[in-house]
Symmetry: C2
Subunit: 469 residues, 2 copies
């Protein structure tokens, strides 16, 4: 459904010479089977698969560089692949080419607990890293829901539930190892917490979605595990009350670690999926990190704010297993929603607006969904002004799809008019290229294009994503 022209005319069979050369490097770790290609031509977006012509499994930065050099010499597209959990078609092989699967680059290169840093290969997932950190008393906070690879998270500038307190991959990536479009290997920074040493190459590549180079190693910041953690759930009669409570919390500078919103449709879906009995009303999930005293103080403040906005209760989850169950349910919201309309696919939106406009943006979008009779739910990292509308559509009904895309487009227009962005954390991929132009304007897009042309003059790095050539 709903895919752009796969540019079949630009799709040529891979040269035999390239395949032979790749086989010499990767041996059994090169695959051209249909099953393998299809697996790598699909993400969690609503797009139909677009398989690459071949897949190689890299085990080192040097192997990635070798693959890039070979593909560059044949001007064949290269697509990096981590866990395939992106939501905007990032890893679809629009023009064919070679997918470099980085999942076997899953070594934790170095943990420096005394410096609060870790360096990992791009294929290491966030859960793997946190498992390895368990004995150090430290943790890596960025949590986009999926157990994504750190390479992929850097490439999409991911964030998620903890970003309101700890920032996103933008703030938490100290440096990268990157293979450039001509196959050179560079290090983009140092392990110093701050630096004014020249152009910020780290942040040139963070969020570049594989279109400027391939991230093969990531050095991230770590944080001491908080002395105390507590969580609370809190229902409201109206979305406006729930969101306004969040806005007040942020404006008062309460350092909440997480604050998530689910509308009543979202609550209903996770109740069904995770056998919970939450009131089917707009819901906030809070998590507080700090000292025992600090957590108690934060919770007290937030509770007062919640009741000021007519909260129906404020229920604690201090036992780790209760907290895990709640957050797991929150993370399942996407899949839970899919079950609310069997056979449907979800179009996921991702606006982020300045916090004072959040309630208005959500309410207008809800009204638009209701007006068009769409099955939807809204979940959000509301502390950052970021929310997702999951629009459930029948992929075989073009009108249904068009209705949902209409809601999305109007919501993006609304967010941009509020000085917000079309994507808080999912990235642009294939799906938001037009929104990106709308957000930045032709002049700024042209500066982005200048960067792309300069760093990838043959247009072989994940071509056709983010901006048009």
């Amino acid at each position: 459904m709903n895919h752009p022209t796969p540019l079949a005319e630009l799709r040529k069979p891979l040269p035999e010479a390239l395949l032979d050369a790749l086989r010499a490097v990767f041996g059994e770790r090169l695959s051209t089977t249909q099953a393998m290609r299809e697996h790598h031509g699909r993400d969690e977006s609503s797009y139909d698969p677009m398989p690459p012509d071949a897949v190689v499994f890299a085990q080192s930065t040097e192997e990635v560089a070798a693959a890039v050099k070979l593909c560059a010499s044949h001007e064949v597209p290269i697509i990096p692949y981590g866990t395939g959990t992106s939501l905007e078609g990032h890893i679809l092989a629009l023009r064919g080419g070679v997918t470099i699967d980085l999942s076997q680059m899953n070594a934790v290169v170095a943990i420096h607990p005394q410096d609060l840093t870790a360096t990992v290969q791009a294929g290491v997932t966030r859960k793997q890293l946190n498992a390895e950190l368990r004995d150090t008393g430290l943790f890596f906070p960025i949590d986009p829901g999926a157990d994504a690879s750190l390479g992929g998270m850097a490439a999409t500038r991911a964030s998620g539930t903890n970003a309101v307190r700890y920032g996103t991959m933008r703030e938490n990536t100290l440096m990268l190892t990157v293979v450039t479009a001509d196959g050179r290997i560079i290090r983009t920074g140092s392990r110093a917490k701050k630096s004014s040493a020249g152009y910020d190459l780290t942040r040139v590549f963070v969020g570049s979605e594989g279109t400027l180079g391939i991230i093969t190693e990531v050095t991230v910041r770590l944080y001491p595990q908080p002395e105390a953690i507590s969580a609370a759930v809190c229902s409201f009669n109206t979305t406006a009350d729930a969101v306004n409570a969040v806005i007040r919390t942020i404006q008062m500078g309460v350092p909440v670690a997480r604050v998530e919103f689910l509308d009543e449709n979202g609550v209903r879906s996770i109740n069904a999926h995770d056998k919970l009995t939450l009131p089917e009303k707009p819901l906030l999930l809070f998590e507080f990190h700090g000292s025992d005293m600090g957590v108690a103080e934060q919770a007290q403040t937030v509770q007062e704010i919640a009741f000021e906005f007519n909260a129906l209760g404020f229920e604690w989850a201090t036992r780790p297993e209760d907290r895990s169950r709640l957050w797991q349910a929150r993370h399942n919201a996407y899949f839970a929603m899919l079950q609310m309309r069997p056979g449907a696919r979800a179009i996921s939106t991702d606006c982020c607006v300045p916090i004072s406009s959040l309630a208005e943006c959500i309410l207008d979008t809800q009204a638009d969904c209701e007006h068009h009779g769409i099955i939807y739910s809204i979940i959000g990292h509301v502390g950052d002004g970021n929310f997702h509308v999951l629009l459930m559509v029948d992929p075989n009904d073009p009108e249904d799809v068009a209705r949902a895309e209409g809601v999305n487009a109007r919501m993006v227009g609304r967010a941009l008019s509020m000085d917000g962005t079309c994507t808080g954390e999912h990235g642009v991929g294939l799906h938001k290229m037009d929104f990106l132009v709308q957000e930045h304007g032709e002049e700024a897009i042209d500066v982005m294009r200048t960067l792309k042309h300069a760093l990838d003059p043959k247009n072989i790095m994940n071509p056709g994503k983010i901006i048009r050539w």
Copy 2:
């Protein structure tokens, strides 16, 4: 003293046609007097002045764009100028050209207190912004010491004393208005707190020191004024004890707002300059922000750590006037030190290392200074692993200068071997171009050069800074 060749051969008189065209735009706000040119050819570095050929005072982004277009058509260098407080020769007119003084672009464009953001013209200084914010209950934390302009602070990726808690200009700049090298006006982002919308143009220009474009407006994050602030000073018998106390504080995740180190030379100089009576021993200055309870708790923890590392006392400064006096003295350290050796100039270094290496890096550098009989002091934003050695030299004694530069070069080598950076916050300018290559390696520098060539193909934007063409 100590300046690179001013590239006199590249210095041509300004074409009369350009001067006429600039005069048509700027009228009386164009100056070619020697006094004005010399004023704009000097910063707070140890370099001799290198004046531009003309200075224009811009009052709008459109005027900046007009000046850039005119200079571009004549291939004449353009240098942006804020308050002239840079430390690495950033605003010296190495090849002549036109300096665009942005100090008259000093309007606060918009404050959105409910979103915790402010948009200002590039010439607004941090003190001016904070004065305008006073009634909102918010503040802008970045404090590099000098009352720098926000445009200049963004251009050098500045930080300073509060960065340990609030981050640097990298984390706190939401978006910029930039005039590109061909005179187009772009906006690099939105006011959303986070975004994955395409290449991170904001951070391409933050830290680019005027070499890729001219920043004309800056949108920054604001923070609620903390409910409580307290400060404390704490002396130690040894530098090692002081620095190790900081390392432990950071590793434990105590959210200190400021933690500054002064060695005994630094303390002696501010005692003399500010008529203080601090013990002439290695000193830490702390500031704590939070709730009454949170501040008390942080202070208690830090006090315990300090005594564990043999602190000689822990003295409170809770009255605002005492705090101001202490921080003013800290900010005066540079000028105080200048008075310790009349006629001398200061070479200021700016390493930043992963926190666990900080004590070793400082101690080895101290030993090196002592060994060479240099008059110096060390002050540092030690919570970030960042410190400055002020090396006092006789500008007319080449051997003296060479000795100091030797200390600097060895210290940078030491910091890089510890995975640190040659500049935590001052930037590269003229002074650290070789260090930058040493830090990043030729391949990464080449990627930076690719960006420069792509965004400034005529090499007219502050040419000769950061990287060699």
